[in-house]
């Protein structure tokens, strides 16, 4: 892959299962077998009940914009041509709050509460990024 000049996620034993799911265009989360809480970010324990047994679920990819920030400056040269761009927290139907970008939408049209669905950007052979687009 050449030409992708933005930061990439750091893969480790905690984060790798999520990003491996993304590579297959799946949003994977752990669900606690003790209390049913959907755990995010992934962990070896459930923060609600400290159970260690979890199952992996695949989220529907639908959610709402919980909040967002519109960047008018580029803190990294890779984002210079993107400004203004929107960083958002999407509240997924399954519960987790995911930091992402809202794309395919004018920045001034983004609103809290707006329905959005995941769209995938394959940025390297290993990494696909879940971004969101208005329904």
């Amino acid at each position: 892959m050449t030409g992708y000049d933005k930061p990439l996620p750091k893969l480790n034993s905690d984060t790798r299962p999520f990003w491996e799911g993304c590579k297959k265009h799946e949003l994977r989360f752990q669900r606690c077998l003790g209390c049913g809480h959907v755990i995010w970010p992934s962990s070896i324990i459930c923060p609600k009940c400290h159970a260690r047994d979890t199952e992996w679920i695949v989220a529907s990819g639908h959610g709402i914009v919980y909040t967002y920030a519109t960047y008018h400056v580029a803190y990294h040269p890779g984002f210079l041509s993107d400004i203004p761009y929107v960083v958002a927290i999407v509240e997924l139907d399954e519960g987790p709050h995911l930091l992402t970008n809202i794309i395919n939408c004018r920045v001034d049209d983004v609103k809290c509460g707006m329905d959005v669905t995941v769209v995938w950007e394959d940025v390297t052979p290993e990494i696909s990024l879940p971004k969101f687009s208005p329904d």
Binding site: A69, T70, Y75, E91, H97, L99
Partner: protein, 387 residues
């Protein structure tokens, strides 16, 4: 046993501040500590406790700044030494705890940073952002923009509220010759016409980036009586650290840690919000001031604009806030910007900006202060009173 009225801030140390190129962060710590020690009349060998605020990543031409280095250059060997790593704001609590436990008798708390004139903040951005950078999310401005936007959605706050904070604090800065923004007044129009950084924040919603340092000295009220200045007595302390990374927060518009922290502090002090004469609030962003005062009980969510408008927090206003200009308009020294100003106001040493007849405000008996760390992850509240 209650800690009320047992400990006090007894001295404040200032440095050159603003644009002060060619200086290391260490040199600002040292200048601040030496001037704070001199301010109390103590000798350096009396100082047996040293607490340094966390250091941001060192600039490329400096080594990591540790309290060992600060002590080494001050020529002291304290009995108690501590530095936080990631903006967990417990420095005041640690100082009081160490004094109460008899671990030391005189503690200096210091901060210094060549933030403006070095490349240190560039490294901070990298360290701070982690995997959020994958989606172009960087630093504190973006970090606080998220809860600020959520608050706009939930209770209709926004720039029309925050302009009163930015402009009001600037008026205080214009009475403070030490302030970076001294002599640079700002109108509502200036505020509204300034550039977006990360929307909903414009340039004047952000704290300053400056060189300099600040230090305070704390001891017991008993020991304070022998020192140069009338002490600023700690009557209430409280803290709450939500810790949760803001991006996972499901109640992002508040309440923040400020709510429980202030409840605890009011309880220790035996007062209510109605007894407070002035506020010195950690103001990394204008919104931080709004949400902190809201959680401290000055107004309900959504009532901020009405509460602030008409010059409430300004010279001559009924509830002065951030009377040095604060981090928005004086200078950024973490929690020491609000704490040191509160102590100086209580001591009556603030010159032109002194609360009282000079600024057509009430003479301060009681001032509430805040410190805040991370993205609303750590909150510490302190109530100071005049003896």
């Amino acid at each position: 046993m209650s800690l009320k009225d047992k400990y006090a801030i007894v001295g404040v140390g200032y440095t050159q501040q603003g644009s002060v190129p060619g200086r290391t962060s260490l040199s600002f710590h040292l200048e601040a500590c030496v001037s704070a020690i001199a301010d109390t009349g103590l000798k350096k060998d009396d100082i047996d406790g040293l607490i340094c605020y966390r250091h941001f990543p060192a600039s490329s031409d400096e080594n990591d700044l540790t309290p060992f280095k600060v002590a080494e250059h001050l020529g002291i060997s304290p009995r108690y030494i501590y530095q936080d790593a990631n903006c967990s704001r417990s420095n005041l609590q640690n100082a009081v705890g160490a004094l109460e436990a008899g671990l030391c008798n005189y503690v200096v708390i210091s901060f210094g940073h060549n933030a403006l004139s070095s490349d240190s903040l560039f490294y901070l951005l990298d360290e701070f952002s982690g995997d959020d950078a994958v989606f172009g999310h960087f630093g504190a401005t973006g970090g606080y923009a998220l809860p600020a936007r959520r608050a706009m959605h939930e209770y209709q706050t926004g720039p029309d509220t925050w302009k009163h904070i930015a402009v009001g604090q600037r008026k205080w800065a214009c009475l403070n010759p030490n302030a970076v923004m001294y002599g640079k007044p700002m109108t509502f129009e200036d505020y509204m016409n300034s550039k977006w950084i990360v929307e909903p924040f414009r340039v004047p919603d952000n704290c300053l980036v400056n060189d300099g340092g600040r230090a305070i000295i704390m001891t017991s009220l008993e020991r304070a009586r022998d020192l140069k200045h009338k002490p600023a007595v700690i009557m209430g302390l409280g803290a709450h650290h939500p810790c949760l990374d803001i991006k996972y927060a499901t109640a992002m518009a508040g309440p923040t840690g400020a709510k429980k922290a202030s409840e605890e502090a009011y309880k220790m002090a035996g007062i209510t919000v109605n007894d407070v004469d002035a506020c010195e609030i950690y103001d990394c962003f204008t919104y931080t001031v709004e949400v902190t005062l809201q959680d401290y009980g000055f107004f309900e969510p959504g009532q901020g604009e009405d509460w602030f408008k008409g010059g409430t927090i300004e010279p001559g206003g009924r509830m002065p806030v951030n009377t040095s200009g604060g981090q928005l308009s004086e200078a950024y020294f973490m929690g020491l910007t609000p704490l040191s100003e509160a102590a100086m106001q209580i001591m009556g040493r603030c010159g032109q900006r002194q609360l009282g007849p000079k600024t057509k405000t009430k003479e301060p008996e009681i001032i509430i202060c805040s410190d805040n760390g991370g993205i609303l992850q750590s909150h510490s509240c302190c109530i100071l009173r005049r003896l």
